[in-house]
Structure formats: structure tokens, C-alpha cells
């Protein structure tokens, strides 16, 4: 892909528009990024997107900011990272600046409240859509360990509310041990 002005503009407008719609923060931006950069533009592979997500989650700071830095760096090095991080930070900066000028009016507006309530259902649908696609990919791999990790992590996070960092750490160790075990048995890769 050519790194010309049009590319950087596309990179900036994508991250800007994605960031403007990450209501609820955290993971919400990941499905949107995946849809844009993996499915639509084919700039990043599915597996790599999951790797970048894991790294974004493990580092300190907001996931949206971390993920955008990683994607920018992956696509176009330091300049790319600067473009994506500015694109990600600008929407909340602009919106919050405007709101802080009139925040009592904003907070008590019924219309704002109802629109946001409807959008929440939309956000849930977007995440469900992406989860179905990604979960199906894991199941299609027909390897018992990733499938087990997926269901166990889901139970740990959703039902038992285990700290996300703990889950990440345990799964990393499991992945590491599985590889070492396979290698000792003379097979390459997990």
C-alpha cells in the first residue's frame, strides 16, 4: 500500500470517526477497528488484530488510545502512530470541551438521554456481531486448547468477574507452556 497523503488522510479519518463512536470506552473500539482495518481495508490480518488487542490491554492507559498507537505503528511506523493517536484523541477532546461549556443543560436533556439509550443497544449489537465472527473462527480451528481457553476466559470474566490482567497473564502462561510442550515432543508450533 502506498504511503502517500491520501493514505494518511484515510488513516486519520478512520481513527477519528471510530473514536467519535466509541461510547462506553474500553473494548467498544476494538470491534469497530476490526471491521474497518481487517474486513473493509484489509490492512491488517485477523490474527494480528487479536495480538494487537492483547498488547493494548496489557499496557497501561486507555485501550482505545493504545490500540490506535499499535495500529498506526504497524501500518506506517512512528508517523502512523502519531496520526492515529491524534485522530483518536481529538473527538473526545472536542466533544468534552463543548460539553464542559454547557454541561448542566446537556446532562438534563431528555432527548440526549433517549438517543444515547437507543445507541447503547446498537453498540451491544455491533459487539455481538464481531464476537460471533471471531468466536466462530476459533471454533472452526477445531483445536481443543484455544476453544477451552475461550470458554474458560469468558466464564472467568463474565460470571466470576476475574480481573482482566489476571486472565491475560494466565492465558499467556498456558500458551507458553503448550508451545514448550509441543516443541519437546518434536512438533513445530501449537
Amino acid at each position: 500500500m502506498k504511503k502517500d497523503f491520501a493514505f494518511y488522510r484515510k488513516l486519520f479519518t478512520s481513527t477519528f470517526s471510530l473514536s467519535a463512536f466509541t461510547f462506553g470506552g474500553g473494548y467498544v473500539i476494538i470491534p469497530l477497528m476490526r471491521k474497518k482495518f481487517v474486513e473493509q481495508y484489509h490492512w491488517i490480518e485477523e490474527e494480528e488484530m487479536l495480538d494487537l488487542t492483547a498488547i493494548a490491554q496489557s499496557a497501561p492507559g486507555a485501550i482505545a488510545v493504545n490500540a490506535s498507537i499499535l495500529i498506526g505503528y504497524r501500518l506506517a511506523g512512528l508517523v502512523g502512530a502519531m496520526v492515529t493517536v491524534v485522530g483518536t484523541v481529538l473527538p473526545p477532546l472536542i466533544i468534552l470541551s463543548l460539553i464542559s461549556l454547557a454541561y448542566t443543560a446537556f446532562q438534563s436533556s431528555l432527548i440526549v438521554k433517549l438517543v444515547l439509550r437507543g445507541m447503547q443497544a446498537g453498540v451491544a449489537a455491533v459487539i455481538a456481531d464481531v464476537t460471533l465472527s471471531m468466536g466462530w473462527d476459533v471454533l472452526k480451528g477445531k483445536k481443543w486448547l484455544p476453544i477451552l481457553i475461550m470458554f474458560a476466559s469468558f466464564l472467568a470474566a463474565a460470571v466470576f468477574h476475574v480481573n482482566v490482567m489476571v486472565i491475560i497473564l494466565i492465558c499467556a502462561v498456558i500458551g507458553l507452556l503448550a508451545t514448550l510442550h509441543d516443541e519437546r515432543n518434536g512438533k513445530a508450533g501449537a
Binding site: 492483547a54 490491554q57 446498537g122 455481538a128 475461550m150 503448550a178
Partner: protein, 189 residues
């Protein structure tokens, strides 16, 4: 020097909020309410509420909000920069390590363990937003009267459009907002 104080304060918030999102809340409260008295507790609760209703990470939102109240727009920009600065350094280092060593079998093994876990955590985050949306913030109950039917309708409709017609997610969310507004006003919620 207020700009320096803002920068340093939000630098610490960015550095210590591991896990993102709500993990940052107590750290922001400590810096902004307790240590510097830049905000009252009430204002802090307000900013959390606003953060939930607006796009963007909670740390960036509060940096903007606090910055603008303390030192105007330059304050907002400086506080935001402070907040993302630690991420930039640490994440860029990790990105470099990843691009250099991602093909090592040990690294592949670790990542292979993490990928399905990431799928699970996205699913879990989605589920909690769905629950919040279907019961409108109240506890989960099986009583149909407690269910937000408009929200259920929007969720099913949007999911169908996304899967069947590959609708752009941003349009899906905007449509839910618009249709939701009309339906909620009609039923007088």
C-alpha cells in the same frame, strides 16, 4: 506552574491505569479530587456520568474536562497529552518488540494463548453492555415488565442488519439512536 501540575498529574493517571476504563476511576479521583482539589466529589461523579454518555476513554474525557476548567483550552490539551504520554512510550516499545520478535515460536505460543482469551473478553464486555441496555441499568430479572422492549428490538434489528447485510457499524449505532428516540417518545418512557 499550573500546566506542569496538570501534565504531571495526568501523566500519573495514564501510567497507573492498567486495564483501562473503570480501572482509571479511583486514580483520577485521587489526583483530581483529593490531592489537588481541582474538582468537588459531585463534579467528579458528573464527569463519570458524562463519560458514559459521550465517546472516548474516561481518562481522556476527564483530562479535557479538568484541564478546561482549570486552565482553559491549553489546559485541556496539556492534560490530555500528559494522560496519553505514558501509553505512547510503553506501547510503542511493545509494538517494536512485537514487530521484531512476533515470529519466534515462544512469542507465537504466548499470543496463541491470548487470542481466544481476547475474543472472550470482548464477548464479556459486549454482554455487560447488552445487560445494561436491556434492563436499563437495573438488575437482571425474568419479569417481562422489567425488560426494555425497545432496546431488545433495536438490538435484534441491528444485529440482523449487521450480519445479513454487513451494515456499517456506525450507521447501525446512529440508526439505533434515532429510532430509539422516536420509539421511546412514542411509548412515553
Amino acid at each position: 506552574m499550573i500546566y506542569l501540575e496538570l501534565f504531571w498529574s495526568f501523566f500519573q493517571i495514564g501510567l497507573f491505569s492498567v486495564g483501562g476504563g473503570y480501572a482509571a476511576m479511583p486514580i483520577i479521583e485521587h489526583q483530581v479530587v483529593e490531592l489537588h482539589s481541582w474538582m468537588t466529589m459531585q463534579e467528579f461523579v458528573d464527569i463519570i456520568t458524562i463519560s458514559q454518555m459521550t465517546p472516548g476513554p474516561i481518562a481522556v474525557n476527564s483530562a479535557t474536562f479538568v484541564g478546561i476548567q482549570i486552565a482553559g483550552l491549553p489546559g485541556a490539551i496539556i492534560a490530555t497529552l500528559g494522560c496519553i504520554f505514558p501509553s505512547c512510550i510503553i506501547v510503542l516499545t511493545l509494538a517494536w518488540v512485537y514487530s521484531r520478535y512476533r515470529n519466534l515460536s515462544v512469542v507465537q505460543g504466548v499470543l496463541g494463548g491470548l487470542r481466544p482469551a481476547v475474543v472472550a473478553m470482548i464477548a464479556s464486555a459486549g454482554l455487560s453492555i447488552l445487560v445494561l441496555s436491556l434492563w436499563n441499568g437495573a438488575a437482571v430479572s425474568l419479569n417481562p415488565a422489567d425488560l426494555d422492549w425497545v432496546s431488545l428490538l433495536l438490538f435484534v434489528g441491528a444485529l440482523f442488519a449487521l450480519r445479513r447485510w454487513k451494515l456499517n457499524p456506525i450507521y447501525a449505532m446512529l440508526a439505533c439512536g434515532g429510532i430509539g428516540l422516536v420509539l421511546y417518545l412514542l411509548i412515553g418512557a
